[in-house]
């Protein structure tokens, strides 16, 4: 029966985690940066309209509540990205060693 080495298992799992996370990080960063840029641009626009008297204070406040809520939604979406990344990384780590573990134990444990 082949031996299982804890260090080898760990290294295999770590490599799988790195590969899985590496695919998602650039997409997550791009999305968060884009949301931050939009919030900045929309805030400036509302402030300019208010300064020129094109909107009332109440209207400007309502618009800013909307933009703020959208920014919070972007953060919640970022949380989803994080959870999805974690789920895929953990499952990739399990899959990466499943063959070796099952073979060594002689049973389909994973």
């Amino acid at each position: 029966m082949p031996k299982l080495d804890a260090k080898d298992l760990f290294n295999t799992m770590l490599a799988a985690v790195r590969t899985s996370i590496g695919q998602d990080v650039p997409a997550a960063r791009k999305f968060i940066e884009s949301s931050a840029r939009s919030l900045a641009a929309n805030t400036k626009e509302v402030a300019d309209w208010l300064a020129k008297g094109e909107v009332t204070v109440d209207e400007a406040q309502a618009l800013m509540r909307m933009h703020e809520r959208s920014a919070k939604m972007a953060l919640t979406a970022a949380e989803t990205i994080g959870l999805a990344m974690a789920e895929r990384a953990i499952n990739a780590a399990i899959d990466a060693v499943a063959g070796a573990v099952n073979k060594a134990l002689g049973v389909a444990l994973l």
Partner: protein
């Protein structure tokens, strides 16, 4: 005053190397066996929900596009649009909450509830004013973008169906 640390007798005899690594391995196997059924942190992707979000986004864009020119929307038009949109969001929220049932976090449900608040906020705005139309549309675009990103990542995370 000094304190002396008395080591329990059992710890004084160092454990041999092989049993320790065997214990580590046993722990690793136990840990892995606990995860045998894949970890689930996000809800299942649902195509119907995705399509419903897209339909709402399309109808919202059409509503704003109708009043891109100089004609301001009539109050009845705004009320009808809001009633229809809020009803659609309620249906989507119910579906999302079922998909995220039992999970520690329910971010999609949370965002759909916030989307509802966005539409409710439109009642506070006089959409006859072009700046308010422009800015509220931009806020809604960002809100939809957030939900779309969630759906994309949920779809990407969806485990393949087990082979028959």
């Amino acid at each position: 005053m000094t304190t002396t640390c008395v080591r329990p007798r059992a710890l004084e005899t160092a454990a041999p190397r092989r049993p320790r690594s065997a214990a580590l391995l046993a722990c690793a196997v136990l840990l892995l066996s606990a995860c045998a059924l894949h970890v689930k942190l996000v809800g299942d992707y649902d195509e119907l929900l995705d399509q419903a979000v897209l339909r709402l986004q399309t109808s919202t864009n059409e509503f704003y596009a109708r009043y891109d020119g100089s004609t301001p929307p009539a109050k009845a038009d705004v009320d009808g649009f809001l009633a229809e949109s809020l009803g659609a969001i309620d249906a989507m929220t119910t579906r999302a909450s079922v998909l995220e049932d039992g999970l520690k976090r329910a971010p999609l449900t949370e965002n759909l509830m916030k989307l509802k608040e966005q539409y409710q906020e439109l009642r506070n705005l006089d959409l006859a004013k072009p700046p308010l139309r422009k800015s509220s549309r931009a806020a809604l675009d960002e809100a939809f973008k957030a939900i779309e990103v969630q759906l994309v990542f949920m779809k990407r995370t969806q485990s393949p169906a087990p082979a028959e």
